[in-house]
Symmetry: C2
Subunit: 265 residues, 2 copies
């Protein structure tokens, strides 16, 4: 039976192989040194997968293609990794460790901004992160380290444990929105050429019929502005920073409320 496994729990035999793999540096591989040695190692497999996803997009990420890159045949990949879902977990944890976690210093605002910028950079480097199912992030060392580091940034402010969790989720979750926008704009820019012109030529009549400005007065106005801004190679990173300021403002308001119990709205 070929079960349709969604993201987890492939490690049927041994107690969770995925966890063991994620923490393979800390826990040594329980390598029974009996048979022939592996030519490669888990890291090279993960690296190849990341490179492939970076180069050709997440839709090109297949076990066959990964094997190709490694000079292996498809099924050999499975001697390194239990399956594709687990491999993706490893990829996510791996890229989470690419950037060193800087010392947390400065104001709360600056520390929160550091958290956001780390995530921002990660999305720009590895756009496929936006296209994979990130429910249930893998509990690997890098993801865990970063979570701890993020929590440390807001520790000791008088927030409850649950609030702290919420705040970090909020700030990291925020980033994906503008990151998507940024990458979309970039992709658009690359794909433009004349294909774009043709697209508009074909669709202009339909769009005009549909988007009569009586139905969408504000969208029309805003869309035009956004199009000009993003289209003409402006700085979409500015948008990221804008939203970030809003989010941080909101958090600061909350922290202040908690700290100075004067006016409870």
């Amino acid at each position: 039976m070929l079960a349709c496994m969604s993201t987890q729990s492939t490690g049927r035999g041994e107690p969770d192989r995925t966890l063991r793999l994620l923490w393979r540096d800390r826990l040594g591989d329980p390598v029974g040194s009996r048979g022939p040695k592996q030519r490669l190692n888990v890291d090279s497999v993960v690296d190849a997968a990341i490179e492939l996803a970076d180069d050709e997009g997440v839709e090109a990420l297949s076990m066959r293609r990964i094997a190709e890159r490694l000079g292996l045949k498809t099924m050999s990949v499975y001697t390194y990794v239990p399956g594709k879902a687990e491999l993706i977990d490893l990829m996510v944890d791996r890229v989470a460790g690419e950037q060193a976690l800087p010392e947390l210093e400065g104001s709360l605002r600056e520390r929160l901004a550091q958290i956001a910028h780390l995530a921002w950079n990660e999305y720009l480097r590895h756009p496929w992160l936006l296209s994979i199912d990130t429910s249930r992030p893998p509990l690997g060392p890098n993801v865990s380290d970063r979570w701890e580091w993020s929590l440390r940034a807001i520790d000791g402010l008088g927030l409850s444990d649950l609030d702290m969790d919420q705040v970090v989720t909020l700030i990291t979750g925020y980033v994906s929105g503008p990151a998507r926008a940024y990458l979309d704009a970039e992709r658009l820019h690359r794909a433009v050429a004349e294909t774009d012109e043709q697209w508009w030529e074909r669709n202009a009549p339909i769009l005009e019929e549909i988007m009569d400005s009586s139905r969408y007065p504000i969208s029309g106005r805003v869309g035009t502005a956004a199009g000009e801004e993003y289209g003409s190679a402006s700085d979409p990173e500015r948008s990221f920073r804008f939203g970030l300021e809003r989010v941080i403002d909101g958090i600061e308001v909350y922290v202040r409320e908690r700290t100075t119990p004067s006016a409870a709205s």
Copy 2:
């Protein structure tokens, strides 16, 4: 050649068939009444697909299974819809129209909360929305109506067009985070039974070795709190509301700064 199309542009022949389909109610189908009538219609196909995704998850969503539900053979589905990517666009726009857009009234805070709650409800009803690639949302009537409605909620506040776009993106983007958390907790709850106990039994030794509280002091504390809160059937909707208040606070701060040009931090 089987091109690997990502989400768009399948409408090769006619000027964008996807748009025509999305707006099929407004623009009448250009139905050449020559051959036999279609037994079904586009809406029933979209409905079947949504039901399937609701019932069995996004991984079960295949053209074959959809055809099955409709009493058709696989390839007949393609007479209604150009391909799977386009069908998903139609699904997204369809569920965007399920909830009537309420009158926008009350304070800015209340209006922003309305926007967020609309998205929140949608995610809870259709969890698969969190698992599909939502870069480039389809420009269908319901998505467009809702965008316009959202912009209207913050129009006339003195924000620039770009800022308005940002604010709506921010508030709707925020929701996906807690929605994911909510649905994860729910799924966990359902899958618990005794499988959970076994999972812990198997993994406890590994987890203990890894998660020694010296390395993750804060995560340990916070994780426990979150686990107790979510695990013991508390109200995760509260978390959603918490973050929402923060985001709205941040937006209010910004609006106030713009409106009363006194202290520019």
